[in-house]
């Protein structure tokens, strides 16, 4: 503004002021451009994530069943009734819920730990130069590109106790077992979904770890070897700490993905996997969409989502330092 020009520094104002305005204008224009680019994504997230989640949360306080379904948001308000029924009242729905929580915990523990542990072990084996290693690595990725639906169908046939390949290997060909185990019914049925899940998850874990291992400076291992560190010590004190950020990320996504597993048990067992293999998601879908207990299903979904929030908080606290280092 010319009225604010200092008589002692007229040129400075003339020179400095216009670029500042141009810069400010540029920044503003740039901000608007960025906002315009980001806006569709935010809108999309709002529409497909936030609003429905809020809607689901709201419905969890409603008596939404087959008689009130057409009212949807106008269905009778029952406050914490659905939550009380799930958590505190003695009823078969609560029994089923507790069973599904237990099964899901076992499923997540074994699936995630075996996927990460196995993926790391295979990555260590693959991280070397040898003939045909590229072909082997490519083949190792095969299970990962098979859709979950197909994995479940394939394994369903493999587990058949009378004609399945698993029992043929265990009983007919190798003689490891005398009797044919029944995999798809009873307590074994949880393992019938855990093992295919691990089988499908291993390649991705291996790929991530392999990338980490190949990016690792060789000098560290060479220096440690010169100092007398054996393979185990080098793994324990060099490889593992450097892979911690990768382990952290896989742990985060692995637990969330496994907790929300639906396709494999659903395809293998239908909407009712039975008490030994019923997971949270199959329980929610069955009670909501087959039994029309939408309020109950919404409440279980909210509890599951809260459990995942807690998990993310724990995870963040545990791995915050690694992420900052990474």
């Amino acid at each position: 503004m010319t009225t604010q020009l200092s008589p002692t520094e007229p040129t400075a104002h003339v020179i400095v002021d216009p670029p500042r305005r141009r810069g400010s204008s540029l920044r503003s224009s740039r901000s608007r451009f960025i906002a315009a680019l980001v806006a569709p994504a935010i809108l999309f997230m709002l529409i497909v994530h936030l609003l429905p989640t809020v809607g689901g949360f709201y419905l969890s306080f409603k008596n939404l069943n087959l008689f009130t379904f057409r009212q949807l948001f106008d269905a009778p308000w029952i406050g914490l009734g659905n939550y009380e029924a799930i958590l505190f009242q003695d009823n078969p729905l609560r029994t089923g819920f507790m069973g599904a929580v237990q099964n899901t915990a076992v499923y997540v523990f074994w699936t995630v730990s075996a996927t990460i542990g196995g993926g790391l072990a295979i990555a260590l084996l693959m991280n070397r130069d040898m003939r045909g290693i590229k072909v082997i690595r490519t083949l190792m990725l095969t299970p990962w590109i098979v859709p979950s639906f197909v994995v479940a169908v394939l394994w369903q046939y493999m587990w058949q106790s009378d004609i399945g390949i698993v029992n043929k290997l265990l009983v007919d060909y190798s003689g490891l077992l005398d009797e044919r185990p029944v995999w798809l019914i009873g307590p074994n049925s949880l393992w019938a979904i855990i093992i295919p899940s691990i089988w499908r998850g291993l390649p991705f874990a291996m790929l991530i770890f392999l990338a980490g291992l190949q990016a690792m400076p060789k000098e560290l291992h060479e220096a440690a070897a010169i100092d007398g560190a054996g393979p185990f010590k080098r793994f324990r004190y060099i490889t593992l700490p450097l892979l911690r950020p990768l382990i952290a990320v896989q742990l985060l996504f692995g637990v969330i993905y496994a907790t929300y597993q639906f396709a494999i048990p659903y395809v293998m067992f239908g909407s009712n996997p039975g008490p030994h293999a019923d997971l949270m998601m199959t329980l929610i879908v069955r009670q909501s969409f087959s039994n029309n207990l939408f309020g109950f299903g919404s409440a279980v979904s909210v509890l599951l989502m809260m459990a995942m929030f807690v998990w993310v908080a724990i995870w963040y606290r545990a791995f915050k330092r690694d992420l900052e280092v990474a």
Partner: protein, 457 residues
């Protein structure tokens, strides 16, 4: 934001966010019904109108078969019919969503046990004013007509289309090798067990009996006849409470579970669904199986390669065995046609339903599917003019029973199915004790009572 948009957002969330919200659209409270059109004369029919019809995969070529069946109708009336096949796996959700949102076809096929649920949900046309056009109650067997009703409510919510009843399907050649007279092989529970035992003892290489387990959507249809035979019932007379844990029900379920525990039923079949077990029968792996008349229809189909020659040419059908009280019940099911309340072509839609309710049309279409016509007269003539096996199925339909026509039945059936599946799983592991069965049925009854207590408040 309108409710319609809000609910559509929730539908997207069910897929993307994992948050459980219902995926249907919030329907208008305006029901769109035009009761004034009920019973209108044929002059109100507009040729050139297209009626949208949803059917389920009835038979190997459902679309082509249905379109061929409707060709004479279109030629005669000028009404076109747009047929869409909706898979059984998703039909409940799609019909429910359509009824609630109003974004629906004009007519849909529905399983007979689903009709009360859909009727209670709303969004369907009460056909009371029209059904006299197709003969009304008098044109159908009692059990079949019952499937058009909702207990305790007025109204006729569907038109019966085709029907089926579960019977015993067996291999004549295997029975002969086992030294069992097929005329008495399945007369009652004792002879049923004795027949299976004789097959087990005398005919190597084939399992005596096979039943699907928890994967089968129709497991309850397999078990309930034994409960009914023993004097039990699925619900109390007023449909307010479950009676599935009564001593009679335990007796019926025990009989069935013992077949597994005693090695007369192949436990590995419990890992399969209904179709897979059916294919085991066709493939010559099991000698006796409980199924529906569609199997008879498939015998003549050379494109059904699941059959092995020995099985294809030796199928016998017997009515279900009589229980300790001398009764021999079976489950009678099938499909009905329902008209959506939101239809803007109700008169034309009704013309389609009327056409599909004609005796000859029902007979022709049911024979394509291996089912039976729903109407009394064509059902009887079809059963009595196609040989002994068809006559056995016709007899089975006459002995048939279906479940209480209440809106909650689908959910109650799911609760029963879950526990029946667990009972059979336990039996395969060697535990078919009455105590174990009672425990599961107590849980089933408790869950069912909770479902029956659902209210609008």
């Amino acid at each position: 934001m309108s409710r319609r948009i809000a609910v559509a957002l929730l539908a997207i969330a069910a897929v993307f966010a994992g948050a459980l919200v219902y995926s249907g659209c919030g329907g208008d409270d305006d029901d769109g019904a035009d009761s004034g059109t009920q019973g209108q004369a044929a002059s109100d029919i507009k040729p050139g109108t297209t009626v949208r019809l949803w059917i389920m995969p009835n038979g190997p070529q459902p679309q082509e078969d249905m379109e061929a069946a409707l060709t004479p109708f279109t030629e005669e009336t000028g009404i076109k019919v747009d047929v869409e096949v909706v898979d059984w796996g998703v039909q409940l959700d799609r019909i429910r969503n359509a009824a609630v949102s109003g974004e629906a076809p004009d007519v849909t096929q529905a399983g007979t046990t689903q009709v009360p649920f859909f009727a209670a949900l709303g969004g369907f046309e009460d056909l009371s004013g029209r059904v006299e056009d197709i003969g009304g109650e008098g044109a159908y067997p009692d059990g079949v007509w019952q499937t058009t009703q909702v207990a305790g409510q007025d109204g006729v919510w569907s038109a019966p289309w085709f029907t089926e009843a579960r019977s015993i399907y067996y291999r004549k050649d295997v029975l002969e090798k086992a030294g069992v007279d097929e005329a008495t092989a399945f007369q009652d529970w004792d002879s049923f067990r004795a027949t299976l035992q004789a097959i087990k003892d005398n005919v190597p290489g084939i399992q005596p009996f096979g039943t699907p387990g928890k994967k089968a959507f129709d497991l309850v249809h397999h078990v309930m006849p034994f409960v009914w035979d023993a004097g039990g019932a699925e619900l109390s007379d007023d449909n307010s409470q479950s009676t599935i844990n009564s001593p009679e029900a335990v007796e019926g379920v025990s009989f069935f579970a013992d077949l597994v525990a005693d090695g007369l039923a192949d436990p590995s079949q419990l890992e399969r669904d209904g179709t897979q077990v059916e294919n085991q029968f066709k493939g010559g792996k099991i000698a006796v199986w409980m199924g529906g008349p569609w199997v008879l229809g498939s015998i003549e189909r050379e494109d059904d390669t699941n059959w092995v020659p020995a099985a294809r040419k030796n199928v016998g059908v017997a009515p279900m065995p009589a229980g300790p009280q001398g009764d021999a019940f079976t489950f009678v099911g099938g499909s009905n046609l329902m008209m959506f309340e939101s239809s803007e072509n109700k008169n034309e839609a009704w013309e389609v339903m009327k056409f599909l309710s004609q005796d000859q049309v029902q007979t022709d279409y049911a024979s394509l599917l291996g089912m039976f016509p729903a109407r009394t007269e064509p059902q009887q003539s079809y059963g009595e003019s196609n040989g002994a096996n068809f006559e056995s199925v016709f007899q089975a339909i006459q002995q048939g029973r279906t479940y209480a026509p209440i809106p909650q039945w689908g959910a109650v059936e799911n609760a029963y199915k879950e526990r029946f599946g667990t009972i059979l799983d336990n039996a395969a592991q060697g535990d078919a004790s009455d105590a174990a069965i009672q425990k599961q049925l107590d849980e089933a009854a408790k869950e069912a009572d909770g479902l029956l207590a659902q209210t609008t408040g």
